[in-house]
């Protein structure tokens, strides 16, 4: 009855063992591990630069949650339509987007993914399938339903993906979206990254149950609830739900239980800010690390070695430093950008 309560899935002292990799393709695992480590190191770099005052705007980091986006992206293709929220670096990067252009965007540079007009909270890379992220909680959820509806009307089997958090479930627009998607049989996958917190508030203070999939049940939407720190489980569940949506089965709902190691925004752990966020819980969740659990299991299974792990990290470190440097020296937007993008230009109309 995972839809009534998350039970052990929300208990950080559980699910700390290395992943069970039986039946997994080692080459897929390696690419998932690389993607997760790359996302984590990119975000750690951002945390440092924000702390050092080099990033002017807020960054909402998802360190500890990397397995969700990497697992979901495994079954997506370039023509699928992904929508994010305020904490979406991982959603974007898991689609293979450019770290350099993400850095440039966060620095407000013309070379950024959103031409320097969006920053960390407004990211866009439609050529990679990332249609956009915005910080209004639940804001993109109905948009994803519309994108899925567009695919259905066009008669193609693309799906839309709507990443949101447990807090978004409290928004009316999201509840409406679940119903609308089901009534119109829209191919959209709702991915709820349930990290148990909305900003500083624990889910127990905001909802009558910590299991958000009860809203899928209420709307008669097929759903799965998984350990969001197990990339293989996330990938398998997402693949089943996406396959159903592509085949005309309507929407799906994936609840991935996870935890962010940092506070709601920026580089601090914020144990003192969070209501019901303790050092003790954080330590346990860090032990439920999606990367360490995967990597140690891969080493045990002979799919990976400690040396490979070290090489990966030192290569990534070098790349990240170089890409950051490049982004720092990239040009700013021209002043005319302020008015140029309000409307489509007439010649384009």
């Amino acid at each position: 009855m995972k839809w009534r309560s998350l039970g052990a899935l929300a208990d950080p002292s559980r699910y700390q063992d290395p992943l069970d990799l039986r039946g997994q393709d080692p080459s897929v695992l390696r690419s998932q591990l690389r993607a997760m480590v790359s996302i984590r190191m990119t975000e750690q770099h951002l945390a440092e630069k924000r702390r050092d005052g080099l990033i002017g705007g807020p960054v909402h980091l998802g360190i500890g949650q990397e397995a969700v986006a990497v697992g979901v992206s495994e079954c997506l293709r370039q023509s699928d339509m992904v929508f994010g929220a305020h904490r979406s670096h991982s959603h974007l990067l898991a689609l293979g987007s450019s770290v350099h252009r993400l850095f440039a965007e966060i620095l407000g540079k013309d070379t950024g993914l959103s031409r320097g007009m969006g920053g960390s909270m407004h990211l866009w890379d439609q050529p990679r399938g990332f249609y956009g992220s915005v910080p209004i909680v639940g804001g993109t959820v109905p948009l994803a339903v519309g994108a899925g509806l567009a695919a259905k009307l066009k008669g193609v089997d693309d799906v839309a993906v709507s990443y949101c958090g447990d807090g978004a479930m409290e928004e009316g627009a999201v509840q409406e979206s679940l119903n609308l998607a089901r009534v119109l049989e829209v191919p959209v996958l709702f991915v709820v990254e349930n990290n148990l917190f909305a900003s500083h508030m624990h889910i127990s203070l905001r909802q009558s149950s910590n299991a958000t999939s009860r809203f899928a049940v209420a709307n008669d939407i097929p759903y799965e609830v998984v350990d969001g720190n197990d990339v293989t489980e996330v990938a398998a569940a997402a693949a089943r739900l996406v396959e159903s949506a592509r085949g005309g089965g309507g929407p799906g709902f994936l609840e991935a239980v996870t935890f962010r190691w940092l506070g709601h925004v920026d580089w601090r752990a914020d144990v003192d800010v969070g209501v019901a966020r303790s050092d003790d819980d954080l330590a346990k969740w860090r032990a439920r690390d999606p990367i360490a659990r995967l990597e140690s299991a891969m080493v045990t299974a002979g799919h990976w070695s400690a040396t490979q792990g070290e090489t990966l990290r030192s290569d990534l470190k070098q790349q990240i430093v170089a890409l950051w440097k490049q982004a720092m020296s990239d040009p700013w937007p021209e002043a005319k950008a302020l008015m140029d993008f309000v409307y489509t230009r007439r010649e384009g109309a």
């Binding site: 407004h122 209004i136 959820v141 109905p142 948009l143 519309g146 509806l149 567009a150 627009a173 609308l180």
Partner: protein
């Protein structure tokens, strides 16, 4: 319809003709909103479109303004040309995030790369003792927001042609039509597609003594007032705004420079309304002395719509009140 022949429409059937035109020619168009399969909600502005084009392209929706409008935005991002219909603006307020935070801003905040070219059709549906939550005309709110194009047709021709232009426009458009205009009649030539970005205020009547500036149903009132004033030997320019945002100020200023007198009529409230914007623009653009007398605004009083018919009569501007104000101005 034979090419070149004029066909008679009401304002309402002209809107229907616009839907028919885009649904017929542009497979990426579809319509969604409440009441689209019912004769109750949208007058005869959409009759049987669902039967002609299919219920999958003319979608009567759950009671979910927010999700439906957001879905229109998302479908537009995915390459469709959706029209989201709100049979009453009052209910559309649930959709403010989709319109103001999402549709209006995606182009700008993604560096001109995203184009949520959704059309939101908002119907002003008031009078008949319906009261405060069934009567509002909130066009000024939307005209305040950069990124939205706000369209308010007053004539039968514009009801058809500006709706088509709105649907074909790559920017998000809020299109306000007014049920008090639905019985206006005109005969129209075949459709010629317009580029919305090129459309702006238009002079519907010319005169020398004063300028009326209005939009939507208020333009109709201004035209009636102009007729009434003719008997008193007064001739008026009537400037129909048509597109409230972005507003092309040129035709308004040109007329006011000529007549030296201006009355702005608006079916919304006075404070921070369209009439305030027009007069602020006029006063900052003209030299002292260009106006022969203080400008006048005729709007709703700053109060919610009443229900009692006696109060309703006092609430809404009439052409007689406009004509009287004009005569006082010329006195």
């Amino acid at each position: 319809m034979v090419d070149g022949e004029r066909v008679e429409y009401t304002y309402a059937t002209a809107i229907r003709a616009a839907f028919e035109y885009v649904l017929d020619r542009y497979p990426e168009t579809f319509v969604m909103g409440q009441g689209l399969w019912s004769p109750w909600y949208v007058g005869d502005s959409m009759t049987d479109l669902d039967k002609k084009f299919g219920a999958h392209r003319v979608i009567d929706t759950p009671v979910s303004e927010s999700a439906c409008t957001g879905a229109g935005v998302g479908a537009a991002l995915a390459g469709m040309k959706p029209i989201v219909v709100h049979p009453r603006i009052d209910f559309m307020l649930y959709a403010m995030d989709a319109i103001v935070n999402q549709a209006a801003k995606w182009s700008h905040m993604f560096g001109g790369q995203a184009h949520p070219g959704v059309t939101v059709r908002a119907i002003i549906n008031r009078g008949g003792e319906q009261g405060a939550q069934h009567s509002q005309a909130l066009h000024a709110w939307f005209a305040h927001v950069p990124g939205l194009r706000v369209v308010m047709p007053a004539t039968v021709a514009d009801a058809r042609d500006l709706l088509i232009a709105s649907v074909l426009c790559p920017d998000p458009v809020v299109f306000f039509d007014d049920r008090w205009l639905y019985d206006s009649v005109d005969s129209l030539p075949p459709v010629q597609e317009l580029t919305l970005a090129d459309e702006g205020p238009r002079l519907l009547a010319t005169g020398n003594d004063l300028t009326f500036v209005a939009s939507g149903f208020s333009t109709h009132l201004a035209l009636c007032a102009m007729e009434e004033l003719r008997g008193s030997g007064v001739s008026c320019d009537v400037v129909d705004l048509r597109v409230l945002n972005p507003m092309d100020r040129g035709p308004i200023l040109e007329s006011v420079m000529k007549t030296g007198r201006v009355i702005v009529i608006d079916g919304g409230w006075r404070t921070c309304g369209i009439s305030a914007e027009v007069l602020a623009m006029v006063s900052e653009s003209l030299a002292p002395g260009d106006l022969r007398c203080a400008p006048v605004r005729i709007t709703l009083p700053d109060a919610p719509a009443p229900t009692s018919r006696v109060l309703e009569e006092a609430y809404y501007p009439s052409s007689q009140a406009i004509a009287s104000a004009a005569l006082r101005l010329l006195d």
